[in-house]
Symmetry: C2
Subunit: 339 residues, 2 copies
């Protein structure tokens, strides 16, 4: 049994979509490996669960695998992360993270404040022995399947030794969770030649080349990242975060323009009706929600940050990912890889 | 008269598209302000010019405003930039840059090796007095018009004082070339709060706030950049290059998937035929070639790097930009702003 403590109150669509994602995961999990603790305002969570019982494709969920733990407070996006984690003891996030710390749950999932999740993961769940930094490592879509971009968190100005650890953590994740044999590790760079890059990349490159236990393939530029040239892309959190957000923002803007274009006139509307099914099929490749949230690696338990805008589908996929993470005992494998 | 020395041999589509871009610019420049020196293999350039005379919409160009300067050699993309600029004296790039240095041309345009253009700009054309670094500053499309992303070059690990100079240079450019009154200057960051960012951003932010002569609006994240939240976005070249390349690569990948989707079956093909005109109208916003190449700022003359894949349209727009740059005497204004 994999027990996941879910922050029912985090994110733009909480608690409705969070609860629905949980319900969908329980239905998808036909092996009944999953049990969920929904942490949040009990009345709100109960109301959403009741609503699910009347919804098509949701009414059959197994309520016995859900437990509600009441939390009065919520950490808001605007709250300063460290202060919020320290002071909002009755918040859904702190309470849920504490359950992982105390062994009442194997995993924690939240769509709430990224900063608070990152701080809470470190302060409450805690780093594995030997881990210097705990990167946020989203699975990103590429033209050639999924890749792991590590680090996209808030812990900037990384040192070469941090990136070496990221390479190992990412390798473990892609191998045991995503089933990639011998994952190709690249370093995010602004050119593919070995002498290119900033001071950090130049210092890290030769170390990655020498490092045992990883399959280093050299520098990866943005285009290589999008095309899926590597399975794991290591980078300092600043550049990683910029790359990730540009990826998301550009995709969002183009899809919006496309939709606007389709709505322009009668002809384009008709055209859209005819072309959309195949178009959606192609664009599905770039749907980040299929992979679930971003794991924070190097912690004693599993902490996953799903998008603030996550809907039920992403939450469901995040929970399914938690099963593999726990069954594969990723923390133990990461400890082994970096020791 | 604005004299532009064009590297006829640089880029994936040279010399054909370069020559055609020059011809199109001469036709578009009805005020006859432009004269062009095409630097490259004379026979190849002449052949392309002859071909233009037989092409629709091109046959009327004024050949008297074109001069060909023969250059035997070409700097290839793979050539190490510093070595190439120093040793390939007979290359089209070095010969054309030298014309700017010696006052035979006001501007230089090339679609060739970015590294070589950046090195050549510094070593041959030379920095303005007081300028510490000469950033590459592409005009990028946003949902809300054009913006300048400065620096996207190869000169990484910038210091706060470099970014302050970029803010001034970008302000001058957006004001006098793009006609933006009081350009909004933002700093590329991974959060909008003042305390967010890496060491460079944290050190630069308070300085930008205090700096006179710029309209600093704070941090800009990727989404803000795409939405056009600022007119000038200052950043270290590493993050800037990553952001720019992610922007381009994501756009390219999505458009490819879209095209594949449209080609899937008879229905989608028909749909595409109906929807494409409005779709193209909307997506035009994101066509980077409308703004021409990326200027390298802070030099004694104008050096512009157009995309390696640039076609005639981008070259034409780049040349039109050169007229404004020269007429507005941007180097003098930049000197004034940073002194």
């Amino acid at each position: 049994m994999v027990r996941v403590a879910v922050d029912a109150m985090g994110g733009d669509n909480a608690p409705g979509e969070i609860v629905r994602g949980v319900v969908d995961a329980l239905i998808a999990d036909t092996d009944k490996k999953l049990s969920v603790i929904l942490v949040g305002r009990e009345a709100d969570v109960k109301r959403e669960l009741e609503a699910c019982k009347t919804e098509k494709n949701r009414s059959t969920f197994d309520e016995s695998r859900i437990r509600i733990v009441h939390a009065d407070d919520v950490i808001e996006t605007g709250d300063p992360p460290v202060v919020a984690i320290r002071n909002k003891k009755e918040s859904s996030m702190v309470k849920a993270l504490t359950m992982v710390k105390e062994g009442e749950a194997e995993a924690f999932v939240s769509s709430g404040s990224t900063g608070a999740v990152l701080v809470g993961g470190q302060l409450i769940v805690g780093r594995l022995k030997g881990v210097q930094r705990t990167p946020l490592a989203p699975i990103i879509p590429t033209l050639n399947g999924a890749a792991l971009l590590i680090d996209c968190g808030a812990n900037v100005d990384a040192k070469p030794e941090n990136l070496i650890q990221y390479a190992h953590m990412g390798t473990v994740y892609m191998k045991y969770i995503m089933g990639v044999e011998n994952p190709r590790v690249g370093i995010l760079n602004i050119g593919v030649e070995e002498e290119k890059g900033n001071a950090l990349v130049k210092a890290t490159y030769p170390l990655l080349k020498e490092e045992k236990g990883i399959n280093f393939i050299g520098s990866v530029e943005a285009q290589g990242l999008v095309e899926g040239a590597a399975d794991v892309i290591v980078t300092d959190a600043f550049a990683g975060n910029v790359a990730l957000k540009m990826y998301e923002a550009t995709g969002k803007a183009l899809l919006k323009l496309m939709k606007d274009g389709f709505k322009s006139n009668v002809g384009s509307k008709l055209g859209a009706a005819l072309a959309l099914p195949s178009l959606k099929g192609k664009l599905k490749k770039f749907d980040a929600s299929q992979y679930g949230g971003a794991p924070m690696l190097g912690l004693k338990g599993l902490v996953v940050k799903s998008h603030g805008s996550a809907k039920a589908k992403e939450i469901r996929n995040t929970l399914m990912q938690c099963i593999d993470f726990s069954e594969q005992n990723i923390p133990e494998k990461i400890s082994g890889a970096i020791s």
